[in-house]
Symmetry: D2
Subunit: 356 residues, 4 copies
């Protein structure tokens, strides 16, 4: 199912080159005021064509709200939004029907759907389907913000160039606001130039490059989540792995904690300003699947965009023989900067579903 959530359910529809893409968001409480300009701002962060790191396609991606809002306030009915598809060049994908792109869903989707899926632009597997996800996240995070819950992410690394990581015991509102409004989100903005060079270098080679996005949620009260399959980690991971290209998710110290001893990894409790806090935050704000009141911090590994101009080995499905492919068309050499707001949106949806 292309849907997520038990209490607030997001369903995403659409194919990259079909009539349109969109989302239905059911279970949002009535009476919440939504600032559409802030929704558009989040969608703009994800939209392509802003600069050289992204594809030169100029998607408009203006979401039309079909239902669920009246005069900027939620009605309690499902919120449906539609983004019409325009500016598509299907011809670019003509030969993908028989020559699947390495690293893409072309081959697996072909087998699963018996060749009936819409291959144009990746169809329902396209990264374009993250636009309605960002729409939904942008709605829900506004409601979370009225409760003091903030979500922001940054580019932890692209290829070999790294930003600072969050200081997980202390993440100020100012930083959260700056990051969640940024088009190239960095804690240490001085690395921007070097990162852009990394992307440009890949692009110049007809290649692409991956990266890591780090996301924080602050202001989350103690007690969100639950044991076993209801845990925050599993819920967030399911949402974040729903983003095409994500191949790893870790919380707090994550894979690093596997190398530690308990005495190093355990976060000591302390009382500070009459509140229970932890002195370190290796657990990423989650104990027993439940938020502990500290910042929730996780990282998502984004693989390099599989569509590259370089010639690659593939197969011809019709003749069942080895073949070669150079992917033409307009492609991002690095989707990491655009994926920042998508990861934030996935976090918003996962948390809202457990919180509401």
């Amino acid at each position: 199912m292309s849907s997520f959530g038990e209490n607030t359910r997001l369903t995403i529809f659409g194919e990259s080159h079909g009539e349109g893409i969109g989302a239905v968001l059911d279970g949002v409480p009535a009476g919440c005021r939504i600032d559409m300009d802030r929704v558009y701002a989040q969608m703009a962060r994800r939209a392509p064509g802003k600069d050289k790191t992204a594809t030169p396609r100029l998607e408009k991606d203006v979401p039309r709200v079909l239902s669920g809002m009246l005069d900027g306030v939620t009605t309690g009915a499902p919120i449906a939004c539609l983004i019409e598809n325009t500016n598509t060049r299907s011809g670019d994908y003509a030969n993908l029907l028989e020559k699947p792109r390495p690293g893409h869903s072309d081959y697996t989707a072909f087998v699963k759907y018996g060749g009936n899926n819409d291959i144009r632009g990746g169809g329902h597997f396209s990264g374009r389907l993250t636009a309605p996800l960002v729409f939904a996240g942008a709605v829900l995070r506004q409601i979370l913000e009225t409760e003091g819950i903030k979500i922001a992410a940054h580019i932890e690394s692209i290829g070999g160039v790294s930003d600072e990581r969050f200081n997980p015991v202390c993440i100020g509102d100012e930083l959260m606001e700056r990051l969640s409004g940024s088009a190239f989100s960095l804690i240490n903005t001085s690395v921007e130039e070097k990162m852009r060079a990394e992307v440009e270098s890949a692009r110049a080679d007809g290649d692409s490059v991956g990266g890591v996005i780090e996301c924080a949620v602050t202001g989350l009260p103690v007690g969100i989540g639950g044991p076993l399959f209801d845990g925050l980690e599993g819920q967030i991971a399911k949402a974040v792995f729903g983003i095409p290209a994500v191949k790893g998710v870790e919380f707090g110290a994550g894979f690093g904690s596997a190398k530690l001893r308990g005495s190093q990894n355990n976060d000591p409790f302390a009382v500070k300003d009459e509140t229970v806090v932890t002195e370190t935050n290796n657990c990423g704000g989650i104990l027993g699947g439940i938020s502990n009141g500290m910042p929730l911090v996780f990282r998502a590994a984004i693989k390099p965009t599989p569509s590259i101009a370089k010639e690659q080995k593939t197969v011809n499905l019709t003749s069942a023989t080895d073949d070669l492919l150079a992917v033409r068309g307009r492609h991002d050499p690095c989707i990491v900067p655009r994926a920042v707001s998508v990861v934030e949106a996935a976090a918003a949806i996962a948390i809202f579903d457990l919180w509401c």
Copy 2:
């Protein structure tokens, strides 16, 4: 909810020191022959008390099948199993009510349940709750095996000591069978001594140590999974993060792929023996959330057991002051070896739910 799955739903109940723990597994097809000795064998791999890496508690953990099987064959009704609790020493946990253990759910559960949760032995958050998970996985993997789908995991590392990783393009049946029957599962068994020494060193220090488990699924046909929130990665991650202590999950090259270029990370397709294969397997057998016919490979980061004998900083919830705690009782210095079969079980459940 303490349940997982849409088509085949596992519900886990029980508290560590209550009457008993168990599972209900609904949606299993009728007519499947289940060898209970193989179920017991999997549960024995998880059971404590086998050697010095584990707690000296001697759980019997014999599951009693209450329904859903008749003469060793599934009836189509929900399969319920009960493991009676015996050999518990609640006294060990008496002071946890007011002094939460660092790294444990004590504090978050206390807040979430208003102090009504069963704190003894960790209650519903106890690692003991993974016993019914292994039961369920052991049932489902037998059904998967009749279709040629095999699941096996090994200890990729404990602390600083590492095993070899799977060769992700070629994992033989022999290796899969050996690993999935092993009590200390390693590809390169020559590292066992060094790993045990790492655990023993932590134990001697009144400390604990974490590790990484790598799991492979072979024989999976092309086409299992789907786009967006129905992807194999999200489904498996949700199940695996349901295991207490897991803090990271990555597929194929995982976080490593974030450092690669597309030309390095993309797995070239090739035709081999009239079958489409990939020459490398950085995608971990999953493209577009769908199995591609290659071995599915993922890794789970296991944090060090939080219960340690060393004195740690905590707080007294009654007096709202800083305090100290040395966790008494019988605890595993390293749960990684025991968690191998749990990770396999989680994979079995996740895959069965998408496959059936």
Copy 3:
């Protein structure tokens, strides 16, 4: 949630006088050819304005398929359809905000949504929301028909005028086809005039009238459904009660069976043409929640349309005093004829979800 189904999930969005209404149908297999003319034909049966039994509003109700179909064949991606709202006269409903219509959701929705719901035309509670339901049913029944499963309903009664009931042990394909294509669906067409007179009489009085719809599903194989909460009765009832105005659902002899003895109500088994059949069909084709191979027969009670021109007692919510209301606007004196295809659609959705 405004959604139905576990394996094939229908989500309905929209408000009567908003931008548009529609549906997302997820989980439909790829490769199914859908004849859109047959979809339009079903929607035309539900559409208003055909004759005097219905409202003179002229809805166009042409569904635009946004995704999930390519060249008339399902792609495996969610099928989304949008029906733009046109021809609405919101002014008619202006005073409903403070004076709730008896028999309508105005009052309960006002309380539930704190006055934020879209009251115009009934908002998300409008009978107009059954248009996307018919769309979804019309898609799914075409797939069911390729497997020999047919669905048809007729007007069992309107007010005091009754049609014949189905002969539940023998329902021919010809009858099923005739009924499922009819705009005023009757087994015994000679009662049509009398029924129309019943409706016209209510209309002339500024009143409305209710009725019963009887639905049959033929060609269903033995074994669909399950025990307890997975039974065909509960699944179908949940879908059919999702239609506004339905207040009762019964299967086979239904409430009549409560008056019978077991020896009268039990359906004797017999072997006929090497197939197990029952000689009577008081169980409505369902035993133990599972189809038994006989026609599945159920009836739904439709209450009279609550919107009537006659003056009725209501309250003024602002002043908290008793008040009077005569509902202006264009309303159906009887929705039973239009609801026939809606009941068929609900049955299609419920059965498809258990069957697929």
Copy 4:
């Protein structure tokens, strides 16, 4: 799935003559005090062997709570209960394997499960599986009662003998309490003798008899439920149709409303004691799928028990020929009195799931 509910999920397991039957109830809030004597009292109302209307089997049916409660208070973990099976005589059912009982699930389950289901005593289809349902309902209704929500049902009719119906605009607490504690629940107790005679007459004939149960829920606040598939009617119907033998469910005037005009069926609003009420209650307390603050009233049709001593026509599945069958063993001539508490339990579960 043998489970019900999204927010509070009940899963029922067990087979009539297996090791035991039981339930897992997940999602119950922590900190609710449950009086087990009141749970036992509800289960005693359902238990057989009390008098001549029921089977002389003497089930003990004492539920053992395995988890989720500590010192009589819910812990927040899933509540699991086990009822061990004792006093079974499997021999009675030996010939059912080849000769399915008319009106029973024997034939449909045989086909669905390929003959692997546990036929003894009806297996998972047995009416005995309603014992855990009553357990779950008895827990949840205690929590509802702390909020002033009461649930009670009575025998509306058995065969041709009828009790009074509820006065749906005014149902006093005293009546609710008397009914919900009664073993032969009647509003007008003077009909008891005549009803018992009706049952006795069927029993003497080796036959059985059906009936109708009417259930009321009082104290429900305005605003529970929702539009379309989230409506109270569909939710309750799904739960009530989960009870074996239920073949019809209607709300308020139900099928009777189909004969009325809108001006008769609409319930006029009025202000009474500063509260909005309706002067009649044909809608059964539900408008637009949402509770309106009036008593919620519904009726369930119970078919006569299919197991009768009289000889009936059936088929021999092995030889595929017509055959005869007289069901031996101990059977209820009328399950309606015992089913009263089961209907109440189903209502409790359905309402709790929407309310919590």
